[in-house]
C-alpha cells in the first residue's frame, strides 16, 4: 500500500506543492518540485520536520523587560510549544550578551537557546 503526503515547499516564493509517496517507512518518490531544494525539503519535512524557535524571556534590570532569544539550531517541530513554555518560566538578570546561552540542551534536543541581542543594565 502506498500513501501520499502533501507539503508546501518553503525554499522560495514559488511555493511548489510537493507530494511524498511512501510505502511503509520508505519514501518511494517526491513529486511536484521545480528544483532540487524541493526534494530535499520534502524528505526532511516528512521524516523529521524541524523549526527554529524565537521568543522572549523575562529579564530584570535591563532597559526592556524582555530579552529576545532563539534556538541555536532548528528543533523538532512538535517541541516548539514545550520549549517556549519552559522559557517562559525563566527570570534572567541583566547584563546579557548576544549569544549567551539562556537554556542548555532544551528538552533533550541537544540544542541550546541563546540571546539574540545584548541587554545592559538600566
Amino acid at each position: 500500500m502506498t500513501e501520499t503526503s502533501h507539503y508546501l515547499c518553503i525554499g522560495c516564493p514559488l511555493g511548489c506543492r510537493l507530494e511524498v509517496e511512501t510505502e511503509g517507512d520508505e519514501i518511494i518518490e517526491v513529486r511536484g518540485q521545480s528544483c532540487k531544494r524541493g526534494d530535499t525539503f520534502a524528505r526532511q519535512e516528512h521524516v523529521d520536520p524541524r523549526r527554529f524557535v524565537t521568543t522572549t524571556v523575562a529579564i530584570e534590570g535591563a532597559p526592556w523587560p524582555r530579552l529576545p532569544v532563539a534556538t541555536a539550531e532548528a528543533i523538532p517541530k512538535h517541541l516548539m510549544r514545550e520549549v517556549c513554555a519552559t522559557l517562559h518560566t525563566l527570570r534572567l538578570e541583566a547584563p546579557v550578551e548576544l549569544g549567551d546561552v539562556v537554556l542548555r540542551d532544551a528538552h533533550g534536543t541537544g540544542v541550546d537557546v541563546v540571546a539574540t541581542r545584548s541587554l545592559g543594565r538600566r
Binding site: 508546501l8 511555493g15 524557535v53 522572549t56 532597559p63 532563539a70 545584548s118
Partner: protein, 425 residues
C-alpha cells in the same frame, strides 16, 4: 548597550541622518567611508535599530552577513560597525523639520529644541503601517483594534499580550509572523482573513506561521464590521466577489477580543513632503537618482522611506550608497549626472532608483504588478534576461552593468516583465 549619546551636539555636521534604523545606520557608514568627518544619526526611539528591534524572528542578513540572523542581532552587528566608524548617535530625539538650506530642527529630552546645519542630509525615516482608518472598516471604536506591528512591539519588547482571542485582517508577513508569536505566547488566533485570492506574505511564513499552528487562512474574505462596546467582542467577516465587494448575505461572525490589522506599510514621507521633495505617486516615497539623491540638492533618502523593502540586506546596501552620496556631496564631490530615466513598463509597478547612468554599475529594485512564471525582464530594446518567476510580494533585484546598455545613449528606458512565451516570439 553603552551610552551613545553625545553630551554636546555640534552646530554643524557634514552629514545628518534622520532615523537610526538599518537604513540610517548603513547611511552613516557610507557617509564616513566617502569622506564625511562628522556624522550624526538622530532617532526618536530610545535606541537605534528601528523596526529590527521588534522583529525577533529569523530572516535577516543572509546576503549581508552570510548567515541568517534575527532582527535584533542584525541591528546589533550593524551598530557595532557604525561605532567603529566614529559616528554620533542621538536617541529620544525627534526631527521636526529639514529646510532647503539643510538646517535640521530637532527636539530631545537631553538637548531641548536644537538646530544643526548639515552639509548633506539623509532621510531614513522608515515606514508606517496602514491602519483601520486607511480601509474604513465600519462599526464601533472599541479597544482591541491595532496594527500588527504595534502588537509586535507590545509582545516582543514590552512583554504585554494584547489579547486572548485574536483575529487578523490581512496576510502580510507582519500579520503572519504575529499569528505564530501570539500562539507561542498562549493566545488563540482564530483566523487570518485576506481580501485577495492569494496570501500576501511569503510561502515560508504561511507554512511556518499558519499551517504549523493549524490557523485557518480565509482567502477572498474580509472584515466587514467590528462589534463591541469598550472592547472588541466579535467581528463580522464576509467572502468577496471578483470585484472585491463583500457578499453580505454570506457574512458570518467571529468571536474575538482583538483584531490585528496587517494591510501593508507606506513610506513615512512627512519630512520629505514638507521639504518639497518630488515624490513618486506609486511608491509615495521620494524620486531618487542613482546616488539616492532627491530633487532637493544635498538631500538623500533610503530604506523604507523611499520604497517598501522586504529584505533588510537590500536596505543596508541601498542606504550605504545613499550615505556615500551624502558624504561625497558634503566633501564637495559630485558624480556625473544620470542620463537614463527608468520607466516602469508592462507588469512593472515601480523602479528605484528612478534614474541611472550608462557608465557605472547600478542595482535596480523593481516591484511587479502580478505573478508571472517563467518570464523575461527587458530593458527597452537593449537587454533581456530570463527569470524563473516574479511575484508582487518579492522585490526583483537587477544589477545593471554598463555593457547591458551598450548602444543606448540615454533618455527613457522602459522596464518590462513579460511572460516567457511572449518574449520568445
Amino acid at each position: 548597550m553603552p551610552d551613545l549619546q553625545p553630551w554636546q551636539l555640534e552646530r554643524r555636521y557634514d552629514v545628518v541622518v534622520v532615523g537610526g534604523g538599518p537604513a540610517g545606520l548603513a547611511a552613516a557608514v557610507g557617509a564616513r567611508e566617502q569622506g564625511a568627518e562628522r556624522v550624526l544619526i538622530v532617532d526618536r526611539e530610545s535606541e537605534p535599530g528601528g523596526i529590527l528591534q521588534q522583529c525577533i524572528h529569523h530572516g535577516f542578513g543572509l546576503h549581508h552577513f552570510k548567515e541568517e540572523l534575527t532582527g535584533p542581532a542584525y541591528a546589533q552587528r550593524y551598530l557595532e560597525r557604525v561605532l567603529e566608524h566614529d559616528v554620533d548617535i542621538v536617541t529620544d530625539a525627534y526631527v521636526l523639520d529639514v529646510d532647503p538650506t539643510r538646517r535640521v530642527s530637532l527636539l530631545s529630552g537631553r538637548h531641548g529644541r536644537t538646530e544643526v546645519d548639515a552639509g548633506a542630509v539623509v532621510l531614513a525615516m522608515g515606514a508606517r503601517e496602514r491602519t483601520r482608518e486607511a480601509i474604513r472598516i465600519p462599526g464601533t471604536r472599541p479597544a482591541g483594534v491595532m496594527t500588527a506591528g504595534f502588537a509586535q512591539k507590545l509582545v516582543n519588547m514590552a512583554g504585554y499580550l494584547p489579547g486572548r482571542r485574536v483575529a487578523i485582517l490581512g496576510s502580510g508577513d507582519i500579520g503572519l509572523i504575529m499569528a505564530r508569536r501570539l500562539m507561542l505566547e498562549g493566545a488563540e488566533v482564530v483566523g487570518v482573513f485576506e481580501l485577495m485570492p492569494h496570501a500576501n506574505g511569503l510561502t515560508r511564513n504561511v507554512v511556518q506561521c499558519l499551517h504549523d499552528f493549524d490557523i485557518p487562512l480565509h482567502l477572498s474574505t474580509t472584515v466587514v464590521r467590528i462589534h463591541g462596546h469598550d472592547r472588541v467582542d466579535k467581528v463580522s467577516v464576509a467572502p468577496v466577489d471578483e470585484a472585491l465587494r463583500p457578499r453580505m448575505a454570506e457574512a458570518w461572525e467571529v468571536p474575538c477580543d482583538t483584531l490585528l490589522v496587517s494591510i501593508g506599510l507606506i513610506p513615512d514621507n512627512e519630512l520629505a513632503r514638507a521639504l518639497g521633495v518630488r515624490l513618486d505617486p506609486v511608491t509615495t516615497g521620494p524620486v531618487v537618482t542613482s546616488t539616492m539623491e532627491t530633487s532637493r540638492d544635498g538631500v538623500f533618502a533610503c530604506g523604507n522611506t523611499v520604497h517598501i523593502h522586504d529584505l533588510v540586506d537590500w536596505v543596508s546596501q541601498e542606504s550605504q550608497l545613499a550615505g556615500g552620496g551624502a558624504g561625497a556631496f558634503a566633501s564637495g564631490r559630485r558624480s556625473s549626472a544620470d542620463n537614463v530615466r527608468l520607466v516602469p513598463g508592462r507588469n512593472v509597478r515601480s523602479c528605484v532608483p528612478h534614474t541611472i547612468t550608462t557608465d557605472r554599475e547600478h542595482t535596480v529594485f523593481l516591484r511587479v504588478t502580478k505573478s508571472l512564471a517563467p518570464c523575461s525582464l527587458r530593458l527597452g530594446e537593449v537587454y533581456e534576461r530570463p527569470l524563473r518567476y516574479v511575484v508582487p510580494g518579492e522585490m526583483v533585484t537587477l544589477k545593471v552593468r554598463p555593457r547591458f546598455l551598450q548602444g543606448f545613449h540615454g533618455g527613457n528606458l522602459h522596464v518590462d516583465v513579460v511572460p516567457r512565451e511572449e518574449a520568445a516570439a
